[in-house]
Amino acid sequence: MSHKSKSAYLFVAPAVLLFAFTILIPIVMTFAFSFYDWNGFGAMTFIGFDNYARAFHDHVYWNSYWHILIYIIATVFLEVLVGLCLAGLITMGRKGSSLFRIAFFTPVMLPMIVVSYLWKFVYNSDFGMLNSVLTGIGLESWTRVWLGNPDTALIAICLVSGWVYAGFYMTIFYSGIQRIPKDVYESAYLDGASEWTIFTKIKFPMIRSLVDTGIMLCVLTGFQAFDLFYVMTNGGPYNSTEIVTTYLVKVVFNNMSIGYGSALAVIMTLVIAIIGLLAGKLQRKDNTLEY
């Protein structure tokens, strides 16, 4: 018996060790570092909860959660909602809809870093496309320094995110809508339903669970956002587009405060965990749909 269980440990060892070295130990170490004043190489000084106390008074850090919240709300609309509408449109069976399907999906295939640089040029205030077009059609007073103005920078970034991921969610919803049996539509048409009614009463309710998943994905990946912000504004101007991840990188790699950065990372982990738990609780239990 004992021999048997020993060999069982041996079999799971590789997986456990891999998990331990790549995930478990870094998490534990981060937690440990958060109680020290440490710059990454010199002496480590134990300072108890000082890093956490500092974090609670760090308004740049808390504002970065606010920015993430705005970003998430905006992306839920610009990505999930727009994606849903696009999916509804391309499944109407009109001519050329496959062309649009490809067109809307193309941005998803571009690496995010390329997208970021691309849109940085579009938004450039001196020779960017956006301002040139506005000037060209006589709306010169509308031109802005899009990424250099705290009022527009965050929204400008959200729009780019929408431009990329609307196509992604569209594809998911499209495949969901494709799975709806044809006879449901047929009977709806026979009853004289319009495309709008079909969309709101059939397509949307029948892929409701996919939309829920989409929103959930939007919220959770919102916290992972980094490259777009890093390239386009790097948190500027004056921290007005600072999100948790860009701020973490600044604290750790620019300021070399590993201890403080670790504390910020621990808090971020807790915040995401709480949001995940809340979301789980809030999700509707009855997902059945009957006709």
């Binding site: 990454g40 190489f41 010199g42 500092r54 008074h57 760090d58 740049v60 995010m112 938004y123 450039n124 205030s125 001196d126 320094v145 899009w146 990424l147 250099g148 103005n149 705290p150 992972q224 980094f226 490259d227 504004t233 790097n234 500027g236 101007p237 004056y238 921290n239 991840t245 973490l248 990188v249 600044k250 750790v252 790699f253 620019n254 300021n255 070399m256 405060s257």
Partner: protein, 422 residues
């Protein structure tokens, strides 16, 4: 995505750290270890040439180089190497506050005597040792210098408008006004990363509040929010309020601002001496000149100071090969080596071996500016706590683009660095 990035960087850090720890395993030290940020392929070849020459003169010694990525070397690599087992005997460092920290930590040898007896000291002008002497003792052998900010101007625009490079603040405003009246952006700054304006305005602040007051504030001995600092920021505010700065200041990076300047979109561009080689490469036809930060009215600081940093090699105090290290640097600073270094694109500052005629006149004149300066101010991010420097840069960017009043920005600055007080 984020985690990947961080893990990647950590791996780099670890790898360089390990590289620093490994090395030769011989017990008696016959290896002269030299550490520096990577100077680029061309210059590495020159260093290795000199090493070969050195080895042929010292048969029992082998020279070993450690090159690291600049940023890594500056903050993590060098401290790691110095505290490691095979610490470098000779290492690259920035003069000023950073060098002083090394001296305090016991990693810099006093080489004043050796410079005299070996004749190495005579290979440089006196001014080349700016920021390398503490309490009358010299701790560094200079290799290069960077003026980190002057204000470049477009000669063609200045000639067309009949303008002269300004020397005082009033003249500077006057010139800016005339350029603006001609429908050209007077000053272009690419401040997305916040150090370009931070560095320039840092110099302006020391001119107004005085070097000592600036030093005290940067070391948290005095708060930033004081009448003198408000006064300094008020000058800065004027630039934005009068519309002398490009609107896109916060949106573009330093290299984008360089391009706008080269394209004649702006008349003036404050940045460091590295713009000269950039201009040679990107806009060889472009005609530019430069002037130092103008003298500030009623300034408490030295109005002729230059902001910049000399760099050089430090002999490790704990090294057993101090004489050999000096010998190596003597070889490095020889006229013959300087010639090789110039050819490889460096701007050496030795007395001999430099063909000034072959050098870009702007580069050589900036070398003279730094060496002849009656006072050298360190860039805020060079000598001081990097977090305080970054906080100051943020405040500067807020004032320079009209987002905060001087008082509000300084109060916020004091507030944000308060937790750093130990």
């Amino acid at each position: 995505m984020k985690t990947k990035w961080i893990m990647g960087s950590m791996a780099v850090v670890l790898a360089t750290g390990l590289a620093g720890c490994s090395g030769s395993s011989k017990s008696e030290q016959t290896t002269l270890r030299i550490a520096m940020g990577s100077p680029g392929e061309g210059l590495i070849k020159v260093w290795e040439d000199i090493a070969k020459q050195f080895e042929s003169q010292h048969k029992d010694i082998k020279v070993e180089f450690t090159y690291q990525k600049d940023d890594t070397y500056k903050y993590i690599g060098l401290p790691n190497l110095l505290s490691g087992k095979n610490a470098p005997d000779l290492y690259f460092e920035w003069a000023g506050v950073r060098l002083n920290n090394r001296i305090q930590d016991g990693y810099a040898a006093d080489i004043s005597e050796k410079l005299k007896t070996s004749g190495l000291g005579d290979q440089f002008e006196e001014g080349s040792f700016n920021g390398m002497k503490f309490d009358g003792k010299t701790y560094m052998i200079p290799t290069a210098g960077d003026v980190t900010n002057v204000i470049y101007y477009n000669k063609q625009i200045f000639n067309t408008l009949g303008l002269e490079p300004p020397t005082t603040w009033e003249q500077f405003l006057d010139v800016s006004e005339k350029v603006k009246a001609a429908n050209i952006t007077p000053i272009v700054v690419g401040n997305k990363e916040m150090w370009p304006a931070g560095n320039w305005i840092g110099h302006l602040i020391t001119r107004v509040v005085g070097e000592q007051a600036f030093d005290d504030a940067m070391q948290m001995k005095q708060p930033f929010n004081s009448p003198d600092f408000v006064n300094a920021y008020n000058y800065v505010k004027t630039l934005w309020d009068s519309g002398y700065i490009n609107d896109s200041i916060n949106a573009i990076a330093d290299n984008e601002a360089d391009m706008l300047f080269f394209n004649g979109k702006a008349a003036m561009h404050p940045i460091g001496s590295w713009l000269v080689p950039t201009a040679e490469e990107e806009a060889p036809e472009f005609e530019m000149g430069y002037f130092n930060t103008p003298a500030m009215p009623d300034g408490k600081g030295n109005q002729d100071s230059v902001i910049g940093v000399l760099t050089g090699m430090v002999v490790n105090k704990n090294s057993k090969l101090i004489d050999e290290a000096i010998d190596f640097m003597k070889l490095y600073s020889s006229a013959e080596s300087s010639k090789k270094l110039s050819e490889a694109g460096a701007v050496p500052i030795t007395k001999d071996g430099i063909d000034k005629a072959a050098m870009n006149p702007l580069s050589s004149s900036m070398n003279d500016l730094l060496q002849g300066a009656s006072g050298v101010v360190s860039p805020p991010d060079m000598g001081y706590n990097i977090e305080i420097a970054n906080a100051l840069y943020l405040a500067t960017s807020q004032v320079l683009s009209g987002a905060r009043t001087p008082g509000a920005a300084l109060a916020e600055l004091d507030n944000s660095i308060a937790p750093l007080k130990k």
